[in-house]
Amino acid sequence: MPATPAWLASVEALLNRSIGQSMRATAAARRLNNTSLQIDIEGVYALRATVSAERLALMADAESEANAVISGSPWALIELLTGGVKSAGGANAEGRPSTQIRGDAEIANRYRELFALARPDFEEELSRWTGDVPARRLSQFARAAFSWLRDGARTARENIAEYLQEESRDLVNRAELEEFLLGVDQSREMADRIEIRLARLERQIKGTA
């Protein structure tokens, strides 16, 4: 069995601390005793989550078969496992589902619930090292910085989209696209109608001849 990376052990310790502090998470872990979930992060890593004695263990890929396997891109899995979305599914740009579940879907869903309930309170974790007041200040600063970055990224995205759609005209905007597609649909319907009329006219000409 390969070595389990130290960072994974730290994540596990963090999650177990959260499970221990929440009655709902403890109950969720109890329901998952002696089960395992394989998480395949496509192209990045595969890991095994196991619950035993109400304690979560995260390991490098294990030899035995897991009760359920969940695979997907890193972001799709993070969203799914932390409760960002309620179930697997959705589709990526190529039309494939962004996450896939094999095996016992009920167990996979319970693990999703457990991960969502065990989401660590980072302010609380930080306060263990720095004390309450600095932890509060630092987390406020982090939240503000994160919010600023998120807003900045959104504004930049909107500005670039607007430039490409309105100034350089390399892309069409959604309204124009929808209007174009509507026009295509209407043209197709008209063509179909004309085709039927022509066919009827043809039959009439053949009848009179």
Binding site: M1, G20, T50, S52, A53
Partner: protein, 250 residues
């Protein structure tokens, strides 16, 4: 082969089990006074990070109990005491009274008394009732134990159901290119450092040799499984120079 014919490793030498116990005791009696200083010098302080990492994985909560086997000067014991709080209980055990004396003084100097006991005990025959502790740790001690399988079985016995064993120990470097550097350091620099600081080069030569004869990561993992530990796994630290093995009594 009779028991009296059995030989065990003492560094690169093969000696009788009883002789190993006596010689290990002599090594640690010799270095007890300078043990902490030497640890800092030899590892450039990294042993503190390795121990902190081990402590971060105990999962102990206030009020629980822990045993630090071969705990020597009490580095891990101090961390365990902070985790279990005043209502919890920690036992520091070591086979060597000189090391334990240093550990006991250090705990008292750090303000811990009442919920901690220091006990001279052989890791192979721990003098505690079955199912006594929520967590058992052994930091840089297992390679000095004569019968490692017996020690693991003994630690398994004293753990409560669901309790965890953490074994922090030197291991086999796995990072590319690290092994020759590590060998040069441990056989060239360590004995000299031992002679300069602890006035005992032989003990530190034994330290380097005993690391080479200690089971590697996979072998120790198998030993944990054989002793009955579930969810057994290991984490390499500093490119495998040190490994933390852990397993649960399930």
């Amino acid at each position: 082969m009779t028991d009296s014919d059995r030989k065990v490793d003492f560094g690169f030498e093969k000696v009788a089990p009883k002789e190993k116990a006596a010689r290990v005791r002599a090594v640690f009696t010799s270095v007890a006074g300078r043990y902490d200083l030497m640890n800092d010098l030899m590892s450039f302080g990294a042993h503190r990070l390795w121990k902190r990492f081990a402590l971060s994985l105990t999962g102990l909560r206030p009020g629980q109990s822990a045993l630090d086997v071969a705990g020597g000067t009490g580095d891990l014991t101090l961390g365990l005491l902070r985790q279990v709080g005043r209502e919890g209980r920690v036992i520091l055990s070591d086979i060597n009274p000189s090391m334990l004396e240093v550990g006991r003084d250090r705990l008292l100097d750090s303000g811990f008394a009442g919920n901690v006991e220091c006990i001279v005990a052989d890791a192979e025959r721990l003098p505690f009732a079955d199912n006594s502790f929520d967590c058992v740790t052994i930091g840089f001690g297992l390679r000095n134990v004569t019968d490692k399988a017996a020690a693991l079985a003994s630690m398994y016995r004293v753990l409560k159901s669901g309790g965890q064993l953490l074994v922090l120990e030197f291991s086999t470097p796995v990072a590319p290119g690290l092994k020759p550097l590590y060998d040069a350091y441990s056989f060239g620099v360590l004995p000299r450092l031992g002679r300069l600081v602890a006035h005992d080069a032989a003990s530190y030569r034994y330290l380097a040799e005993s690391i080479r004869t200690h089971p590697n990561q996979e072998a120790l993992l198998e030993m944990l499984r054989s002793a009955g530990f579930g969810l057994a796994r290991y984490h390499n630290l500093a490119g495998g120079i040190v490994a933390l093995h852990r397993g649960y009594k399930i």
